[in-house]
Amino acid sequence: MALHELTIAEARAQLDRGEITSVQLTEALLERISALEPTLHSYLTQTPELALQQAQAADERIKAGNASSLTGIPLGIKDVIVTKDVRTTCGSKVLENWVPPYDATVVSKLNEAGTVTLGKLNMDEFAMGSSNENSAFGGTRNPWDTERVPGGSSGGSAAAVAAGQAFGTLGTDTGGSIRQPAALCGIVGLKPTYGRVSRYGLVAFASSLDQCGPFARTVEDVALLLETIAGHDPKDSTSANLPVPDYRASLTGDIRGLKVGVPSEYFVEGMEPGVEKAVRTAIEQIKDLGAEIVEVSLPHTKYALPVYYIIAPAECSTNLARFDGVRYGVRLEGKGLFDEIESTRGQLFGAEVRRRIMLGTYALSSGYYDAYYRRAQQVRTLIRRDFQEVWSKVDLLAAPTSPTVAFKIGEKTDDPVAMYLSDVCTLPINLAGVPGLVVPCGFSDNLPTGLQLIGKPFDEATLLRVGHAYEQNNTWYKQHPSL
């Protein structure tokens, strides 16, 4: 087996036995990145020198017997996550040359664990998009079919893992930006409960929805990554002061007696039959593994899309006010201060970012606030109550992730609403603040599909347990795209 095809757990075992070194792993992945980047464009910035330094340090640490579960493992980081002294662009011209003076908490935690940073991953500008086509530096291609999108916004993070350009990656998810690309690229992705992982150093898109989470090829690898990045952070007052469980301990393979709800509303009109079949087959298998399947209803699901497209743009329009070319980023010359600010923002933000800032500004403006923003926040309460009520009946939910497989590049770029519908099954989870895990569930027309498991707040352990049991009963995770 080629080194880039190892899982993190397999690489860990070989590193600890001294059969391979972190430098060897890192060199193999850097080669893989160089070979595939002209085709895929998963990375916006590569950091080979930093990676080899970190790999050498990791090898010494392993030799000294101080390795953590991730010491010496080469990983990639979405470019919306701030990295000290490494350019961080958020996929935007506005931050084309920005070199942050500090690390995000999740990056500090990876550094403490002794991981190797391969580089910064491509994304839709400021994490707004479902296809990676909104990257100001050119989109990423899907490793399973390079004529198709990898999903978004964490498309680079998903494609890199699927293609063996990283053993694991970090992404962010505001409305589906980890889960939808994980499904479209045939890998595992987790959006943790809001507050499970610190947001300090994530460049904010929608602060009440954003959450950072991992991608990898197996559920066990995702559990290892989550364990490392999760936990309370005094620098993020919305992070939860709760202990982080030993997530690997929950991967027992035994899911007998668990009650799994299937929400009928998530099998939306327009869902591709191949996707629905794959998801329903997966749910049948979970039943065969000893879980009880219960039909449930989340009646306010259809309002999630309009609620999201008020709340997320409203929060983005205020968060992105900081990009004015005064303290960092690019500044365009103009006739006066305000002319400079308006030119910088008007010309350097991409079309989707401008559209969402406009939408959010409108929804918050005097005279429209009650009709749009306030009402959306009220309906958000109803969506959240749907979930609270369903937890009295079931332990978790199983649903589709995306209504379609990966679509063709350019297919939806002229129709914002068609693009937004790509996230119809993932948005409600962010509004409710609960966790969602995606595991590959087979192929439709030779393209990957993903099963979405949705859990109670801070019960990632049950999702990982069920996801792992399903995964190990199949061989999807052993299949790699031919590149």
Partner: protein, 96 residues
């Protein structure tokens, strides 16, 4: 729900975005189409439903009132498009 060109101009001004005339019109059509989908919310009965602004159920998270280290001035200014001494430099705020 159809926005007027004047409304789009006003929102662009509030958002500090300079848009070309053809983009103003494209934006007007796209925003109107998105707002049509959002109209669905007007049908929901929200009588006596409280708002959800955040989902943590935390209130008033405070830290100990003690001095800690923060970003050094030079690091904070390192990315400034223009600086003068220890300040960010911009064009005059009050125009004549």
């Amino acid at each position: 729900m159809s926005l007027t060109p004047e409304q789009v101009r006003q929102v662009a001004h509030l958002a500090r975005l300079k848009l070309a005339d053809d983009e103003m019109e494209r934006m007007r059509l796209q925003l109107s189409s998105i707002l049509d989908h959002i109209e669905l919310l007007q049908a929901v009965d929200v009588t006596d439903v409280p708002i959800t602004a955040q989902v943590t159920d935390l209130t008033n998270v405070t830290r100990v009132d003690a001095v800690t280290s923060s970003l050094p001035v030079d690091a904070a200014l390192a990315n400034a498009p223009d600086r003068q001494g220890d300040y960010f430099r911009v064009k005059a705020v009050f125009e004549e």
